[in-house]
């Protein structure tokens, strides 16, 4: 077998991120960005929402969503820089920036979520 490349795993994170973002983000945006502010649905009060957010299942799902979306961004942005801007010769720097950024963002999301 050829040298093991991380590409398949990165692609799995990328595609899982695309799927998760497509399924969950529009719902969250609709609820918290449109329906609650416009009063189409009665918004939950702060203590209710906080207790939902403190539930471990909510934390895990939101953390997973943040992580997958960030890795989706990282993979896509890496190829945008590679092919769109023809910067493939800087691949090491670009990979470190993109996936490093996704790791840092995920850690930050984890810190915020699990401290609540």
């Amino acid at each position: 077998m050829a040298r093991r490349s991380p590409e398949p795993l990165l692609w799995l994170l990328f595609s899982a991120g695309g799927m998760a973002a497509a399924l969950l983000v529009p719902v969250l945006l609709f609820l918290f960005g449109i329906a609650f502010p416009l009063g189409w649905l009665s918004a939950p009060d702060h203590t209710h929402l906080l207790s939902v957010l403190r539930h471990p299942a909510t934390k895990v799902i939101l953390f997973g969503l943040c992580l997958l979306c960030l890795f989706h961004w990282a993979h896509r942005f890496r190829y945008t820089l590679y092919d769109g801007l023809r910067l493939k010769n800087l691949s090491l720097v670009i990979s470190l920036f993109c996936y490093g950024g996704a790791v840092a963002g995920s850690v930050a999301a984890g810190v915020v979520l699990f401290r609540i």
């Binding site: 077998m1 590409e7 799995l12």
Partner: protein, 249 residues
């Protein structure tokens, strides 16, 4: 349409013995309802300029020889009708992303080599003798690969692919679609033999799903879909190898 209507073909010429760079030459050809760009080129060759070189054979979208760039788009010239480009002029250039040998003729060795690399034929672990009969297949089993078997190797997808333009090592849309044509065939047992080429960096992982290959395909094959499906196969496989490294390969 009046009998004496004409349209101009603006044809890319390249004769390596007399010019360093491709040049343009214009020819006026009859504009007839049933004439394709290929008929226009044949008119040029027969009546106006016998030195023009291009490939063609069947005139009916089967052989895949007459692919060229028509008004900037990769097309089979036998199915591109002149009237669709009226009043013209119609720009005819060789297929993009391939070295030009002469005029509209491109060098196809790279594609031919890649095609054999993916072993696009039925591979059996053991050939069974002829007298044991055929390999029956249900309609559902045939549907699994039939779409990909429509590929005529015309290379329009390579001309359309921006990834192939940037990275000529990319195995490319048609070769991967044809590999999948056999991987998904119930009679085939060769997917392991194709795995190394397909799941290499120059295989499916080079594709960024631009989708131009599928748009360009004149036969309704979906090479972009074939590549995406194989990405999932290859990724699942790597995950399995990572989590279960002592498992059977």
């Amino acid at each position: 349409m009046p009998e004496n209507d004409r349209i101009t073909l603006r044809v890319a010429r390249y004769r390596p013995e007399q010019e360093m760079e491709p040049t343009w030459q214009s020819y006026e050809v009859p504009l007839r309802k049933e004439w394709t760009v290929l008929d226009g080129l044949n008119h040029v060759k027969d009546h106006l300029d016998g030195t023009l070189s291009y490939r063609w054979s069947c005139r009916m979208g089967i052989c895949g020889s007459c692919g060229m760039t028509v008004n900037g788009e990769p097309q089979l010239t036998c199915s591109a009708f002149l009237t669709d480009f009226a009043p013209g002029p119609v720009r005819v250039e060789p297929l993009a992303n391939f070295p030009v040998v002469r005029d509209l003729v491109v060098e196809i060795d790279d594609f031919m080599n890649k095609l054999t690399e993916v072993k696009p034929w039925i591979i059996r672990a053991e050939d069974k003798p002829l007298d044991e009969g055929e390999f029956p297949q249900t309609p559902e089993e045939m549907d699994a690969y039939k779409q990909y078997s429509m590929c005529i190797n015309c290379m329009l997808c390579y001309a359309a692919c921006p990834v192939y333009a940037l990275d000529p090592d990319f195995v490319g849309p048609a070769a991967i679609a044809l590999a999948q044509r056999y991987n998904l065939d119930s009679r085939d047992e060769g997917s392991a033999d194709r795995r190394d080429v397909l799941s290499s960096a120059a295989g499916v992982w080079a594709c960024t799903l631009v989708g131009e290959c599928t748009t360009a395909c004149p036969k309704g094959v979906d090479p972009a879909g074939a590549i995406q499906r194989y990405k999932l196969t290859a990724a699942t496989r790597s995950l399995k190898d990572l989590l279960w490294p002592w498992g059977q390969r």
